[in-house]
């Protein structure tokens, strides 16, 4: 069980985030670049001094500037997988993985034994003798993961552990993580930019933006009701802010929308791109919302195409690839966007 309230400054960047993670729980920590994710992990590990707040793990206070308590990093039952790995260049891969065990007093033979197993788990059984410098990026990342997992800590911190892995390996490793994180009764914090990882591995999601927590909850909750552009981008939906009077929503950016269920006061309005229809001519007799805009972006997303329509409001629509030619989207120009009121989810901030 981790209870953390982290307050610190790094140069111009200031961080203030309070959160907790139960034993056996996996907390997915998401946020834009430079929002403070890695900094949080460094602080939890004790590699950064806190300015305020406190860190308590399983009842023992690890950090409490007010009380002048701070447990040294090496005394904390924590393992951190660094975003940039920080493998020891002078040690073999096996020694790298065995390092934590040796440091915590496992005898050489047993340590190497366990390290070898850990390496096998991440699919590097035959690479133990290599130096990290002579491994590929993805191989190094897996070594770093093995090095962190093998120590089985009370608090496991993984900083973008899958970023450099190829799809096949990613699936396997993700599966491995699922299994181990579940079994371990440690608290787990997983930093990732991939919603898939968050959903697949995370029991709870914490979204942090420039140094502060903006949203928490189960992945389902968070994605259902995004509260920032970043979260909306995560799920790829349109997020609009406005003020509702009944079913009418006046958007802050200008423009108006009609939603199905009536609300009042400031609201978020979410529209899935797939629900947005686009037309070259003004469609006649469409109920609900219809407005005009110009094509600004056409992004090919796998088997779908995303069209950004600048207007009031600006909105992104998702259309089948065929539409690109049918509507000559690449030529840009004027376009009509329509959304049925039922497709608009409205909720207070």
């Amino acid at each position: 069980m981790l209870e953390a309230d982290i307050q610190l400054r790094l140069g111009k960047f200031s961080l203030d985030a309070a959160f907790s993670a139960a034993s056996g729980e996996v907390v997915a920590l998401l946020g834009p670049n430079g929002s403070g994710k890695s900094t949080i992990l460094r602080a939890l590990t004790g590699l950064l001094p806190l300015a305020g707040g406190r860190v308590v793990l399983d009842g023992t206070v690890l950090d409490d500037p007010a009380q002048r308590t701070r447990v040294a990093p090496e005394k904390r039952p924590i393992a951190l997988m660094f975003q940039d790995y920080l493998l020891f260049p002078h040690l073999s891969v096996l020694e790298n993985v065995a390092f934590g065990l040796r440091a915590r007093g496992t005898d050489k033979k047993a340590a190497r034994q366990k390290a070898a197993e850990a390496l096998a788990q991440v699919g590097l059984e035959d690479q133990g003798a290599k130096k990290p410098g002579s491994m590929s990026g993805g191989q190094q990342q897996r070594v770093a993961m093995a090095r962190a997992l093998v120590t089985d800590p009370r608090l496991l911190l993984l900083d973008e552990p899958l970023a450099a892995l190829d799809v096949s390996t990613k699936t396997d490793v993700r599966r491995l993580l699922r299994a181990t994180l579940r079994q371990s009764h440690a608290a787990n914090i997983l930093v990732t930019h991939d919603l898939l990882d968050a959903v697949a591995l995370g029991d709870r999601m914490i979204v942090i933006e420039n140094g502060g927590i903006v949203q928490t909850g189960t992945p389902a909750e968070v994605t259902a009701r995004p509260r920032s552009r970043y979260v909306a981008d995560l799920t790829g939906v349109n997020l609009l802010r406005g003020t509702a009077r009944g079913t009418a929503v006046d958007l802050d950016g200008g423009g108006q929308l009609t939603s199905a269920d009536p609300v009042t006061g400031p609201v978020f309005a979410v529209i899935a791109p797939a629900e947005v229809a686009v037309h070259r001519q003004r469609p006649d007799g469409t109920a609900g919302n219809l407005w005009r805009g110009t094509v600004s972006e056409v992004d090919l997303m796998g088997d779908r195409v995303r069209v950004r329509v600048d207007g009031t409001p600006t909105i992104t629509a998702e259309v089948p690839p065929s539409a690109v030619d049918d509507l000559k989207l690449d030529d840009g120009g004027e376009l009509w966007a329509s959304v049925s009121p039922a497709a608009i989810t409205v909720y207070p901030p």
Partner: protein
């Protein structure tokens, strides 16, 4: 593990390097040709020479060891410590290098001699006194040579990537383990350099030794002193012969050192 394409030979660089090498080579050649090869063996194997060699080795090695023991912490403080007067401390450390050895010896006498600031009370209390003892030789050599280790080790500590130490600590490594398994290997090249410099300097030390520890054959007479004696009794060829022993010893060490740290 260096899979870089072989760098094309850079003529200017190579020339300068070659010149430097020759600059060192000719004097050595001079010594070799100037040496009394006929009497070499007898000179070298004379009791006094062997005594001197033994004392030289003992003293230079012990003072190198002391330099490590005390010098490394000092380097550590200079590189990592946060305290005022660091620049001054560093200055203090480098003084013995700029003092002409003889003056260094005088300074040592003034401090640790029988009438010295520290030496007098020490002598009164314990009856011990350093001058004219092997201990005195070691002190003199440490005084002159230690700074070379301190400065080199400090530069090593400065230029290493400390985040690797963080990683080690996050894995539960105690300060000592971090030091042993991470810091030490990473600054190894610098340390080796420092040890070599220190040892070599100690081995060749003359002025401070003769002034502080005297020149008693079999007790405080190191090779350089023995050499000085044969030279000042105008036996230059003997002096050269003896010097060549030192040269030989150090050559052996240097080449051995290569094997060692060539491996990292």
């Amino acid at each position: 593990m260096d899979d870089r394409p072989r760098q094309p030979f850079n003529p200017l660089l190579a020339c300068l390097a070659a010149l430097a090498a020759l600059f060192f080579f000719f004097p050595l050649l001079g010594l070799v040709t100037g040496a009394p090869w006929g009497r070499m063996v007898s000179v070298i194997t004379s009791k006094s020479s062997l005594d001197a060699l033994q004392i030289s080795l003992i003293a230079s090695l012990s003072s190198t060891a002391l330099a490590l023991l005390f010098g490394f912490p000092l380097a550590w403080m200079l590189a990592r410590g946060q305290f005022r007067g660091k620049g001054l401390l560093r200055g203090l450390t480098t003084l013995p290098m700029v003092l002409p050895p003889v003056v260094g010896g005088i300074a040592l006498l003034l401090a640790y001699g029988r009438r010295g600031i520290v030496g007098e009370p020490l002598h009164k209390a314990t009856g011990l006194s350093l001058p004219f003892t092997l201990a005195g030789v070691i002190v003199a050599e440490s005084f002159v040579a230690m700074p070379f280790f301190v400065i080199t080790a400090e530069s090593g500590l400065r230029s290493m990537n400390r985040r690797l130490e963080d990683a080690a600590r996050s894995l539960g490594a105690s300060r000592w383990t971090v030091f042993r398994r991470v810091t030490l290997p990473l600054i190894w090249p610098a340390l080796v350099a420092g040890i070599v410099l220190t040892w070599a300097r100690a081995l060749g030390e003359f002025g401070a030794t003769i002034t502080f520890a005297g020149n008693l054959p079999g007790v405080t007479q190191t090779m350089p002193l023995a050499i000085y004696i044969s030279q000042s009794s105008n036996k230059m060829d003997e002096a050269i012969a003896l010097s060549l022993i030192l040269v030989l010893v150090s050559l052996v060490v240097m080449i051995f050192r290569r094997e060692r740290s060539g491996s990292d």
